[in-house]
């Protein structure tokens, strides 16, 4: 009898360990497998490659995480990032400085975030459909502006954002670090950050406690939009030109990264450290498949499967 109880307890403990550290263990296992299959995978050069790969995944993952924390989903991420990036490249082509181009991208992101926030918080439209609509508007603007053709004429300083190094450290790694430190701190240590969580967990109790729920919802969508703007700039800088099709494909990755993150350490809770792990996870898979010469199209398969596993692990209580 006692033995049975003990085994049962051990089983529960294992399940607890798996839930908490499963994703991290899987990531380490993944790295081992890729390294064994292809020695080139485990090298400093490839490590920097992965860093470059995860920059966009992480930034847009953060964007998506802010919306999900607040109990909403933002499906406009890819299109808004695409539009912000394209307009930044366009500004460069028109002769504006890199600084101005980046500011334009950020403003576009903020404005679209605000529009998302208003449609959801003020007009009370479900974020699922509201952001899909807003995203289509951004998509339309991309094609109106580019007429479907890529825009060229990026300056060195713009491309530096994705390819440059400071003291041997890739610039994107610095961007990831800075964003990680700021957003992680914001969500954990400030009242606004905690309020965003509170609204996501229980909107009604937040309202009853006197929180300004509408303002908080608008704020979270605006922050999401801001990171879409940043992400858009990096996407175009990596490509070296303004590609109208470059943005939209990032949506699913961003959401997958957030959900993968929600399975890290905390069960079913979205948080920035998790999002970072999620981005590394995703980036490692994409990089590993590329380096193993697996056909590009298999990436879609792996993303889809990963997303389903992540949602399963993150638990059923969210969305």
């Amino acid at each position: 009898m006692l033995n049975i109880l003990k085994i049962k307890k051990d089983k529960e403990f294992l399940r607890f360990l798996f839930r908490k550290y499963g994703t991290l263990v899987a990531l380490v296992a993944l790295i081992c497998v890729f390294s064994l299959l292809e020695p080139r995978f485990f090298s400093l050069i490839n490590f920097f490659n992965i860093v470059r790969q995860i920059t966009v995944l992480f930034i847009l993952g953060v964007a998506s995480t802010y919306a999900l924390i607040n109990g909403e989903v933002d499906l406009s991420i890819g299109w808004v990032a695409g539009l912000a990036g394209i307009l930044a490249v366009g500004a460069q082509a028109e002769g504006y400085s890199t600084f101005v181009a980046i500011i334009i991208a950020l403003i576009i992101g903020l404005v679209f975030g605000l529009i998302n926030g208003f449609t959801v918080a003020i007009f009370g439209i479900e974020s699922f459909i509201a952001t899909l609509g807003v995203g289509q508007i951004a998509n339309g603007l991309i094609y109106l502006y580019t007429k479907g053709a890529p825009i060229i004429g990026l300056r060195e300083s713009f491309i530096y954002l994705a390819a440059g190094k400071i003291f041997g450290v890739p610039f994107p790694l610095l961007i990831v670090l800075v964003i990680f430190l700021i957003t992680d701190y914001h969500l954990r240590n400030t009242s606004t950050g905690r309020f965003l969580y509170a609204v996501g967990y229980n909107t009604e109790a937040s309202l009853m406690s006197g929180l300004n729920v509408k303002r908080l919802k608008i704020l979270s969508f605006t922050i999401t939009g801001l990171f879409c703007g940043i992400g858009g700039v990096i996407i175009m800088a990596r490509l070296g030109s303004g590609q109208p099709t470059a943005g939209p494909g990032n949506l699913l990755n961003a959401i997958a990264v957030s959900y993968l993150g929600a399975s890290v350490l905390k069960e079913g809770e979205f948080h920035i450290f998790g999002t970072l792990v999620g981005a590394v996870f995703m980036g490692t898979i994409i990089n590993g498949l590329t380096i193993l010469n697996v056909q590009y199209y298999y990436q879609f398969l792996s993303t889809g499967i990963l997303l389903l596993i992540a949602v399963g692990l993150a638990g059923k209580k969210k969305h």
Partner: protein, 507 residues
């Protein structure tokens, strides 16, 4: 009513034990149910009542022990097993789909009358109506959505539905929790008629008076064990409380403040009107606990919502300490010191996934967030929370534990702490003791008493007459959106209050 067929035991469980991740929820529980008896189960929160009946209903699996149905050993592993054995469990929240029609809910889980897959609606409607008529529920129109009906009607419908599946044993978990007195009487009448047909009822309840009103036997549980099973006629309320708590808790209601009324008006409400309440006028005096009672929909909750800025005020004034106050949102009301402890602490009162700490300081979090870089003052947060935890003896593992793992009473104490951490001047409480065990109820009454003494205006909304009589100095009775009458608790009694609740004479 004497028990018939006393010899026939329809359900008997022996030595049932159950552990949940290290916690012994049930230990060697024995329980038996006669044919045609109403058997109440009493106990504090966490005593194991719900766990036990959920084992009967196949919602939880037992670790060990035996279950006998009509003297035949059975295994109940799923709710389908239970249904086959004629055991039907009526959830606290009824398990209905409120947007769908009564008829659709009636056939939920079984097959609609159909021809080649096409539903024959006329047959479905007439079958449903016929069944409802059998239970004197002809006022429930199967063509309307469940949300159209009152909670009591929905509950009665659920019970009727349970019987359409040939239930012989009916398990009711706190069936009167959201019912008014009148609705409760209708429900009890229905339960008694079931009993006359030889159906056995297991009734979990927090309201001890209900046991005496309707049950034949009562089983009292404490800490996962059965401490006593008696015939109701052989036991007193005091005995039950003693068995439940394992001690004598003394008086249920603490002594009231002695008031020299009318010496010091603190809160004045004049002609307060909104969509749901009309022309509410009354004063609250210093150190007073003002009770509000009324039927569901009488305007008692609606009044609280207007007073606390949840719903908009159309006209009227509110004066606090002789100062006019106006507000347009909950936030404004809180800034003015008017706070609402809402009816449903799980949905409206607390962020269940937040810790004890975070819930306690939620409202003052902004003030606790300062410095560069901007950060929440963790030390202060812990200090404030610890103060309340000690003062109210809140039981938990630690202050980082999520509140969803705490018992109802402890959760409610945290809702109180949340508001007391602010500069609260008026505390409006809506059904503050709903679903809370007897001992904790008394603790909460004591807390309210102390707060009133400290000068916080307490407005307590309740649907339980003994509670407002026991705790409040004066009682305002709402009826159809209006304040019908204000009575002094000293000079009134249950009958008088009930009379006014139902619209009473000389109104």
């Amino acid at each position: 009513m004497p028990l018939q067929n006393r010899s026939k035991i329809v359900l008997k469980v022996s030595n049932i034990s159950k552990r949940f991740s290290g916690v012994q929820a049930l230990l060697d529980v024995n329980f038996s149910l006669y044919k045609g008896e109403i058997h109440a189960i009493a106990g504090e929160n966490g005593a194991g009542k719900s766990t036990l009946v959920k084992i009967f209903a196949g919602l939880i699996k037992k670790d060990s022990g035996t279950i006998m149905r009509n003297n035949i050993p059975v295994e109940i592993n799923t709710n389908l097993d239970a249904a086959k054995l004629g055991i039907s469990f009526v959830h606290q929240d009824f398990g209905l789909i409120s947007q769908m029609k009564i008829v659709e809910n009636f056939y939920l889980g079984i097959v609609f009358p159909n021809r080649n897959g096409k539903i024959q609606w006329d047959i479905a409607y007439s079958e449903t109506s016929a069944w409802l008529n059998k239970f004197n529920l002809s006022n429930i129109d199967p063509r309307k959505a469940v949300s159209f009906f009152s909670p009591a009607q929905a509950q009665m419908f659920t019970i009727a539905k349970a019987f359409s599946r040939n239930a012989e044993i009916l398990i009711l978990d706190e069936p009167t929790a959201s019912l008014t007195n009148e609705e409760k009487n209708v429900l009890f009448h229905a339960i008694l008629s079931m009993k006359d047909r030889g159906i056995s009822v297991v009734l979990i309840t927090h309201k001890l008076e209900e046991i005496f009103e309707i049950a034949d036997r009562v089983t009292i549980m404490r800490d996962g064990k059965v401490v006593n099973t008696s015939f109701v006629k052989d036991i007193t309320v005091g005995d039950i409380i003693k068995f439940m708590t394992g001690r004598n808790i003394g008086a249920k209601y603490p002594p009231k403040q002695n008031l020299q009324l009318k010496d010091n008006i603190v809160l004045q409400i004049k002609h307060l009107t909104s969509k749901k309440v009309k022309n509410i006028t009354f004063n609250v005096y210093a150190r007073e606990i003002f009770g509000i009672i009324g039927l569901v929909g009488s305007g008692r909750t609606e009044f609280a919502r207007v007073l606390c800025g949840v719903d908009p005020l159309e006209s009227g004034e509110i004066k606090l300490f002789n100062r006019d106050i106006k507000f347009h949102s909950i936030h404004d009301a809180v800034e003015n010191g008017i706070c609402l402890v809402p009816e449903d602490r799980r949905i409206q009162g607390l962020i269940m996934d937040f810790s004890v700490c975070e819930n306690t300081v939620l409202v003052i979090l902004k003030k606790l967030c300062h410095g560069f870089p901007l950060h929440i003052d963790k030390r202060k947060t812990i200090e404030i929370t610890k103060g309340f935890v000690d003062k109210f003896s809140i039981k938990m593992r630690n202050m980082d534990q999520k509140v969803k793992f705490l018992s109802g009473g402890n959760q409610q104490k945290i809702v109180l702490s949340k508001w007391l951490s602010t500069q609260v001047k008026v505390l409006v409480l809506d059904e503050v003791t709903k679903g809370i065990d007897v001992a904790t109820k008394t603790e909460i009454y004591k807390i309210l008493n102390k707060l009133a003494e400290q000068g916080i205006v307490i407005i307590m909304i309740s649907s339980e007459v003994p509670e407002v009589l026991g705790v409040c100095n004066r009682i305002g009775i709402f009826y159809k959106g209006q304040l019908q009458r204000i009575l002094e608790a000293e000079n009134t009694n249950e009958e008088e209050i009930l009379k006014f609740i139902f619209g009473g004479s000389n109104a």
